[in-house]
């Protein structure tokens, strides 16, 4: 009994908040637990999850990358203009399309990384500027028009099924596995945490802070570029502002997932939950029949609820930990 209690105590408050929301939806949102609906949630989460990986790395390193939406739009449109040249694109052309998108993202990321990591410019301003450049360039290259009607083979990357599960979910799964490996199992992953926790200490421990920061922005850029093209394939349309708002959703998913602006705290595992929560809230509210406007309000309210529950439980734990310290270290 005591052990069960201890185990329950160790579950993060976040999980409790999420469970409450799921329970609410199970009872009040008709069809929330249907297989088809769960697939729906997963496929709506996939792209957000991919770009949230980049955002999580940036926030873990105590910075932020808000250029994500702009990069996604520009990369998506760039890929779209390329693939529409083909009537019946083969696999190489499709791969090349994604490579173009990822490449555009890489360029933006490298630019961000060098200016922020190497030359120490403010990350907010630099990524804000590249966000603006991204959205602007997306308008410019196609005169502000939306591209639609893509070849079937290209759309299949995101918009068909494999083993009964949407392909976009498979793609996200592969990328998330890679990113989990990078952040938890490589030296670079540990360096992200170290740099975010204390840049001075990281540097004095022999970590190349500049290189680490540049790599983080490069990876974040590549993920957004790739995500941008994937979004085009999934929605069958490429617009200059198609991805606007993704940066904020990615930040929300990361923070709900327990990664802290303090830096060095949290991780990708939490972000996966965070991204799922974001999609679940929208999906549940839709099923409950709320209008688009009310959905926004309730989305905000639910995020607040989760954060409040999480913070309260963290503070409790911290206090308990301090009490234990006092017991051991008497004067």
């Amino acid at each position: 009994m005591q052990q069960v209690k201890e185990k329950l105590k160790n579950i993060p408050g976040l999980i409790w908040g999420v469970l409450v929301i799921i329970l609410v939806f199970i009872f009040f949102a008709k069809g929330f637990t249907k297989y088809q609906n769960i697939l729906n949630i997963l496929s709506n989460t996939a792209i957000l999850l991919i770009i949230s990986c980049g955002m999580t790395m940036a926030i873990l390193s105590k910075e932020i990358d808000i250029s994500i939406g702009g990069v996604m739009s520009f990369a998506g449109l760039g890929g779209a203009l390329f693939i529409t040249r083909f009537e019946n694109p083969g696999i190489p052309a499709i791969i090349l399309t994604f490579a173009i998108g990822t490449g555009i993202g890489l360029c933006f990321g490298l630019f961000n990384g060098v200016l922020i990591g190497k030359y120490k410019y403010n990350y907010w301003l630099i990524t804000f500027a590249t966000m603006s450049i991204g959205y602007g360039a997306a308008q410019v290259i196609n005169g502000g028009n939306v591209v639609s009607g893509f070849p079937k083979a290209f759309r299949n990357v995101a918009d068909s099924k494999f083993l009964g599960i949407p392909t976009v979910v498979w793609v996200a799964l592969v990328i998330v596995m890679i990113m989990l490996f990078i952040t938890y199992k490589t030296r670079f992953g540990m360096h992200i945490y170290a740099v975010g926790d204390s840049e001075q200490c990281a540097s004095q421990s022999g970590i190349n802070v500049k290189k680490t920061r540049i790599l983080i922005y490069m990876l974040a850029g590549m993920l957004s570029g790739f995500g941008g093209v994937l979004l085009v394939a999934k929605t069958n349309s490429a617009g200059p502002v198609a991805a606007s708002g993704y940066e904020w959703n990615a930040i929300a998913a990361t923070i709900i997932g327990g990664t802290s602006f303090e830096g060095g705290k949290g991780g990708l595992a939490g972000t996966i939950i965070g991204a799922l929560v974001m999609s679940m809230i929208i999906n549940g509210l839709q099923l409950m029949g709320f209008s688009n406007y009310w959905q926004q309000v309730y989305k905000g309210a639910f995020i607040l609820l989760i954060i409040v529950v999480d913070v309260i439980s963290r503070r409790k734990k911290k206090k308990a930990a301090l009490r234990r310290v006092y017991k051991y270290d008497e004067c």
Partner: protein
């Protein structure tokens, strides 16, 4: 009125995560006296006075101000009741003017809109500064002032209100002699007006000059109070230290081995023309006042700061200073336990385990993939070796006490294959037990052939551990003393640090002339 009690403290207690900073302290402050509180670093002096000034809440005990219970809710509340503090660290708004800083929170206002009356504020500020003999314009930006000038503005700010009790927390640490004289003049003036003053200081001369009574604290506990007139310096030191030098340090000196580190005319932003050498098996101490450039020097040797000129040799091989970094220093076998444990030594949000492996990752995981069992093994070995008191290596380091945190930092460096260890203030803010363990580690390192550099402001510590001590003053090496010389004393080292040694006669000129020994000749020059 000399013996009337202004503030009485009974069984005061204060805890911080990991330490009991003030434990069961009872003392009193009389009206119109200058009361000095001394003690080693981390003795709890600052914490005690911060509780009086309303910066910290007391965790136990009571304070009585003029017989009434005194429980300041915050700094403003304390000020309203007549207790004011001048901080050890400057707490000024750098981008505001002097007058704005002095009158913050109580700016003179005018008109129905209660707009700030800048003219009046500046005039009042000028009168105040002139009255104190401080030559600063009220409209100057604080960031344009020197540290010493800022300190004087702090003093002006504190005495611009009516005070019953004024607390000065190491006010002279950054002042020049002229400003110190000025401060003492102000202090006497205040005292004659009946204000009580609590004065925290490390400088012994000051105590004798202005103190009425002296209270000694050690490890958070009250040791005793004495009248300044009838106490010997030696008694004070015994009270502060509470132990004799020999029984803590247990240094086993060895014959110095080959040369490990040598610098030639090394120059940087805060130090110049530094020539030093450190041999295997040696502990070399660095003494000097805060700001003498010791930390900056070792940071440049370690590659954290850029050096501007000169040469550094490690094991006889010259280090390319234009292309030097911490990473390269570590590869070459250097380790640095930084002065600033919380921000530079530790990843405060990480577990013990993750902290310990940070510096040896390039060694242990050359292909970039991290192996959990290697991390665990390394961490467990470190925790065992250094006797870190913890239930698990997964524990976050912010939960540990200062001493255990420092042990984690040292474990991080022991996990590397370092040959040269730089300890910068390794025992600051650490309890006595952990201190002696850290001394033991340093001694063992030297015994096993590593070279150890140790910066410390605790002279007893340097005297107890070091083979040789370099003394720095204003960025230059002002002297070098070996433990075999007769002048290996606190007084001589202090005099080197303060006046460059000119004012103090050598107690034994013959010993001083013989000078410190060089490294063993075999090998070091052959290698270079």
């Amino acid at each position: 009125m000399q013996n009337e009690i202004l503030l009485e403290m009974k069984n005061i207690r204060k805890e911080f995560p990991g330490v009991v900073a003030v434990n069961d302290v009872s003392m009193d402050i009389r009206k119109g006296e200058v009361h000095i509180i001394i003690g080693e670093n981390g003795a709890g002096k600052s914490t005690l006075v911060k509780m009086m000034a309303g910066l910290y809440k007391i965790d136990g005990g009571v304070m009585l101000l003029e017989g009434q219970e005194y429980k300041p809710a915050n700094v403003l509340d304390a000020q309203r009741q007549g207790v004011n503090i001048i901080h050890q660290e400057l707490s000024m708004m750098q981008n505001r003017t002097v007058a704005q800083n002095v009158f913050v929170g109580r700016e003179p206002v005018m008109g129905p809109l209660r707009m700030v009356d800048n003219k009046k504020m500046n005039r009042q500020c000028r009168e105040l500064l002139e009255g104190l003999g401080i030559d600063i314009k009220p409209t100057t930006m604080v960031k344009d002032l020197s540290i010493a000038q800022q300190q004087m503005v702090e003093v002006a700010k504190a005495i611009s209100t009516e005070n019953k009790l004024l607390i000065m927390d190491e006010p002279t640490s950054s002042l020049t002699q002229k400003e110190i004289d000025n401060l003492f003049r102000i202090t006497r003036q205040l005292k004659s007006q009946g204000t009580s003053i609590i004065y925290i200081s490390h400088r012994m001369q000051e105590l004798m000059e202005i103190g009425d009574r002296i209270t000694v604290m050690r490890d958070g506990c009250y040791v005793g109070t004495r009248d300044a007139d009838d106490i010997e310096m030696s008694e004070l030191i015994t009270m502060m230290v509470g132990r004799t030098i020999e029984n803590v340090y247990n240094r086993t000196y060895n014959e110095p081995g080959k040369e490990m580190l040598r610098t030639e005319k090394l120059t940087g932003l805060r130090f110049r023309n530094v020539d030093i050498h450190v041999c295997q098996g040696e502990i070399v101490g660095f003494a000097g006042l805060v700001g003498a450039g010791r930390t900056e020097l070792v940071k440049a040797i370690f590659g954290f700061d850029q050096a501007e000129g000169g040469k550094v040799f490690l094991e006889g091989k010259e280090i390319n200073l234009s292309n030097h970094s911490c990473n390269r220093a570590i590869q070459k076998g250097m380790a640095m336990i930084s002065e600033n444990r919380k921000t530079e030594g530790l990843f405060i949000n990480m577990s013990i385990k993750d902290n310990i492996v940070q510096a040896c990752m390039f060694d242990k995981f050359p292909n970039g993939i991290v192996k959990n069992d290697v991390i665990k093994e390394t961490a467990e070995q470190g925790v065992k070796e250094l006797k870190v008191a913890t239930t698990s290596i997964e524990k976050k380091v912010f939960n540990l006490s200062g001493g255990n945190q420092q042990k984690v930092v040292i474990a991080k460096w022991l996990a590397t294959n370092s040959k040269l260890f730089i300890f910068d203030e390794p025992t600051r803010g650490i309890d006595v037990g952990a201190k002696s363990e850290i001394y033991g580690i340093m001694n063992d390192l030297a015994k096993n052939g590593a070279a150890v550099i140790m910066i410390s402001s605790d002279l007893l510590e340097l005297l107890g551990l070091a083979d040789r001590v370099y003394v720095m003053k204003d960025g230059e090496i002002s002297g070098e003393v070996s433990h075999e010389e007769n002048v290996f004393t606190q007084e001589y080292i202090l005099s080197l640090g303060i006046e460059g040694g000119k004012a103090v006669e050598h107690k034994s000129p013959s010993a001083a002339e013989s000078g410190p020994k060089d490294c063993q000749k075999g090998g070091n020059h052959a290698a270079g």
